[in-house]
């Protein structure tokens, strides 16, 4: 029996690794700038094989300028498909659990099996990065993708990184078992439709956290609501589990499910439903992505709408969308100054035991004061994030 399995592609920044069984370890490397890079690539391949305890295999690599973690992931994926009993590599990464309420103005999506689009994903200042194993990954690449994501998580330092797994009914359990080894800050569940969906995911996460010795509760959950069922059950989804820190809206699937055309009007009910459900459970709400990457004005307009509806952030499908999204969701200098004034006046009034306060003859009631405090808190957190 001579099985041959391949992982990775010959696209830029990828490395295609083909494994066949052999009587000893043979490594062959094809690469541009071969004189310069062959030795390094060979080391990565040999070390990965050794970690997986594979001693008999022929490994062919065609490198297109891949980073080390990509090569290691491709080798692991190909070796494990030839030798299915091989145990998955533990990445040994440690990560500080993320806080529930930290600013999440942007969620940057990145396709989980495309090394070229993953290069530099940490460089664009996204509040959260979402590595996708679902829609952007075709079924034949699911296994390689989750291994690649695991290796990326173990190598690339990101302020907050989530993995969008497949639904638990398809590849989701395998996704979880693999990527939790590298301890993402959170797991993003697509097509969430009920509290049971969240419970099921949470139970699975608890089981794997225990198995891997991860502190229980450190992995957050982000349901994506993108179906009619999901919208109608938004409240219970948000309230289902304390791990749910943020809920996201997926407009493309939602309008398809409804048979509706995507307009701001057709999305209004869903958006408002999500925001109200989220806020009722002290969960953040993140708006759907804006898919026309060339139309920055449209992006800004839609982001402002989302902000005004109560969303805390918005999805981005390219790093170019991050700056405009952040600009909309960050309090302006004027807003911060105004909020400082309100809070100061309120504090002074409180000290003097005065109940009702006013600025320039305008009454400052409780909700206004609360909003001012929220603005200052966000501003403070953003400054903190940027100086990290």
């Amino acid at each position: 029996m001579n099985v041959e399995k391949t992982a990775g592609s010959e696209d830029k920044r990828d490395c295609q690794v083909t494994v066949t069984s052999a009587s000893s370890l043979e490594v062959q490397v094809e690469a541009g700038n071969k004189n310069l890079v062959e030795q390094g690539i060979r080391q990565v391949i040999e070390e990965t094989a050794a970690t997986l305890k594979v001693k008999k295999a022929k490994i062919n690599a065609i490198d297109k300028g891949a980073l080390d973690y990509v090569i290691a992931a491709r080798v692991e994926a190909a070796l494990r498909s030839v030798f299915p009993s091989t145990t998955s590599i533990q990445s040994g990464v440690s990560r500080i659990a993320s806080k529930r309420g930290r600013p999440r103005r942007s969620r940057l999506y990145a396709p989980g099996n495309n090394p070229r689009l993953l290069v530099g994903i940490e460089l664009h200042g996204a509040d959260c990065v979402l590595l996708d194993l679902e829609d952007s990954v075709p079924p034949v690449e699911k296994a390689a993708a989750r291994i690649l994501v695991k290796h990326l998580l173990a190598t690339i330092d990101l302020p907050e990184v989530w993995v969008r797994i497949n639904p638990l009914s398809s590849y989701g359990r395998d996704d979880l078992a693999e990527v939790l080894r590298s301890r993402p800050h959170g797991i993003c569940l697509p097509k969430a439709e009920s509290a049971e969906d969240i419970d099921e995911l949470a139970t699975e996460i608890v089981r794997i956290e225990k198995e891997l010795g991860i502190a229980e509760g450190s992995t957050l959950i982000m349901p994506i609501i993108e179906t009619a069922q999901g919208i109608l059950h938004a409240e219970e989804i948000c309230a289902a589990n304390e791990r749910v820190a943020i809920v996201a809206f997926g407009a493309e699937d939602f309008t398809r499910d409804l048979g509706a055309k995507r307009t701001q009007e057709s999305l209004l009910f869903a958006r408002s439903m999500i925001v109200a459900s989220a806020k009722a459970s002290e969960v953040q709400a993140s708006d759907t992505v804006y898919s026309n990457v060339e139309d920055e004005d449209g992006l800004i307009a839609e982001t402002k709408l989302a902000r005004d509806l109560g969303f805390d952030g918005k999805g981005a499908i390219t790093p170019r969308q991050i700056a405009p999204i952040h600009a909309v969701f960050s309090p302006s200098k004027e807003a911060i100054e105004e909020a400082q004034k309100i809070v100061a006046v309120a504090k002074a009034a409180e000290a003097r035991g005065i109940g009702a306060i006013a600025i320039g003859g305008k009454m400052i009631d409780r909700p206004v004061l609360e909003r001012a405090r929220r603005t200052l808190k966000l501003a403070q957190e953003l400054t903190g994030e940027e100086t990290r």
């Binding site: 541009g32 700038n33 890079v37 690539i41 300028g65 980073l67 080390d68 530099g120 460089l123």
Partner: protein, 514 residues
């Protein structure tokens, strides 16, 4: 011997005693400019010849002589190959080639080197010729690479005597006036070789477009031109852009460009009268675009923008963001058209903008410039000439001249190209010394040369991500195993001259791998 940067260079090459690099502005010329034989053409004399072959005969070109060319057609040049094929057919041997630059289109030159038609090259070699020469043992003497200004200087100083200059001219008249911006196949200014036309023993203008007297502007003047030859084709204008003109779409590279423009804004130089060099590579082109947008936003009117001319610079001129563009070359048709039609788009030659031994260079008037690099090292030295495997890769272009002049020279580089680190401990070859590099902008932050604490303070005050070059390097190095390093032998493949004619580095043959 070792030069001021500690680079090992030969004492002499043949009869030429080499002068080691001492510093960016350390030398002072003492000699007179080179002479050129006087000659009188009397009224009624014919200067038009019918073929390249006839021109070769008329000029008396013979074995061992030096011939020169310009590269304004870049990878679309058809003249170098035509002339060398003709020389080969006529049995000429042992020629020294002195082009402003060679490109992949000149691959047939390899045969002429093998057959001994060409035995020496002084000029940059982009592509297959560079790779071939890098194998060693191909030429009778090491190649010599010079900047635009350095090449002008060496001709003017008489250290290179050109026997015959062949000048591809998109438009010429029967008396030898010629230009590069008109005709059927315009390529932009052909002023790289103005100095060749002025100092060569014989100057031959080769055109595919002979027009009635006078052809103007007078980039090449009748008083310098011995002969005019009309041929079918001199260049393919479709190829002159050679793919350099796409603004990058890579988020990483756009981030570098954005940071570079923010560095310019924070530098204090971005005020009315701001003069800058616009780049033509992907990152510098984007940086130039962002700086233009910044100027528009701030309501700043710059002084001049220096090319290579591009559509982008022309747009910046038309928007009134600069008063004038100064161009020694043009990278696209929009720039060429603008040179024809807009008197605020001005042609200049390297003697004007880049010559060290002169009474002033336009590059010295620059506030900011964006330049690329193959490698940058922790001393801020830049390599644009060789690949990390030691192979000759690119010419110097105006890199040294611009970096020496601009008040703020910004190197825009990604930290990795594929698996290869761009920031290294010590560059494979020094093209431009760290003392004239002010800022290195990468996707992982901005590094400022310790000599420019003033800039560092300004960048920090503006909240820019200023980091040590070493720290940026370490962060990138974590992503790939280090590449192997070549081991260099004794054979010198090429000399890299500094603008003043001193030798800043030598390129040696690779004999193995560490």
């Amino acid at each position: 011997m070792k030069n001021a940067l500690g680079r090992e260079i030969p004492e002499r090459i043949g009869k030429r005693k080499l002068r080691p690099f001492k510093g960016a502005f350390a030398t002072t010329p003492t000699a007179q400019k080179a002479p050129r034989p006087q000659k009188t053409v009397k009224p009624g004399e014919n200067k038009v010849l019918s073929s390249i072959e006839e021109a070769i005969e008329a000029t008396g070109l013979s074995d061992g002589m030096t011939i020169s060319f310009h590269h304004s057609f870049r990878n679309g040049d058809l003249l170098v190959n035509q002339v060398l094929d003709t020389c080969a057919r006529m049995g000429l041997k042992d020629l020294r080639l002195f082009p402003t630059a060679l490109f992949p289109v000149h691959e047939p030159l390899i045969e002429h080197i093998k057959n001994g038609v060409v035995t020496r090259i002084e000029g940059s070699m982009n592509g297959p010729v560079g790779a071939f020469v890098s194998q060693g043992g191909k030429l009778k003497a090491p190649a010599v690479l010079r900047s635009h200004g350095g090449r002008w200087r060496v001709v003017e100083a008489g250290d290179i005597k050109i026997d015959v200059a062949f000048i591809a001219a998109p438009q010429a008249d029967p008396y030898g006036n010629a230009n590069g911006i008109k005709g059927k196949t315009p390529c932009g200014p052909i002023t790289f070789c103005t100095v060749d036309a002025m100092y060569a023993e014989k100057t031959v203008v080769v055109t595919n477009n002979l027009v009635p007297y006078p052809a103007y502007p007078f980039e090449i003047q009748q008083g310098w031109t011995d002969y005019i030859v009309v041929v079918d084709e001199i260049g393919d204008p479709e190829s002159i852009a050679s793919g350099t003109l796409m603004i990058t779409r890579s988020p990483t590279r756009l981030k570098i460009a954005r940071l570079a423009s923010e560095a310019v804004r924070a530098s204090g130089y971005l005020v009315d009268g701001f003069n800058f060099q616009g780049g033509a590579g992907g990152i510098s082109l984007a940086a130039t675009k962002f700086v233009g947008e910044e100027m528009a936003k701030l309501g700043i009117v710059g002084g001049f923008a220096m090319g290579g001319g591009t559509r982008l610079l022309v747009d910046i001129l038309h928007q009134g963001l600069v008063r004038v563009i100064l161009d020694g070359q043009a990278f696209d048709t929009a720039a060429i058209e603008s040179l024809r039609e807009d008197q605020n788009h001005v042609i200049m030659d390297p003697g004007q903008y880049a010559n060290y031994d002169s009474r002033g260079c336009s590059t010295y008037m620059l506030d900011a410039a964006f330049l690329g690099a193959t490698e940058v090292d922790l001393d801020f030295n830049v390599n644009v000439n060789t690949h990390s495997d030691g192979q000759l890769l690119h010419g110097i272009g105006g890199h040294q001249d611009v970096a020496s002049g601009a008040k703020m020279t910004v190197i825009t580089i990604p930290t990795l190209r594929g698996r290869l680190p761009v920031i290294v401990d010590s560059v494979t070859t020094v093209t431009t010394p760290g003392e004239v590099i002010d800022v290195v902008v990468t996707e992982r932050g901005i590094a400022v040369n310790p000599r420019r604490k003033d800039l560092k303070d300004r960048f920090l005050a503006a909240g820019l991500p200023v980091r040590e070059l070493k720290e940026i390097k370490q962060e990138a190095d974590r992503l790939t195993r280090p590449p192997r390093k070549p081991i260099f032998g004794d054979e010198v493949i090429a000399l890299i001259e500094w603008r003043d004619g001193t030798v800043i580095d030598s390129v040696r043959k690779v004999i193995g791998w560490e």
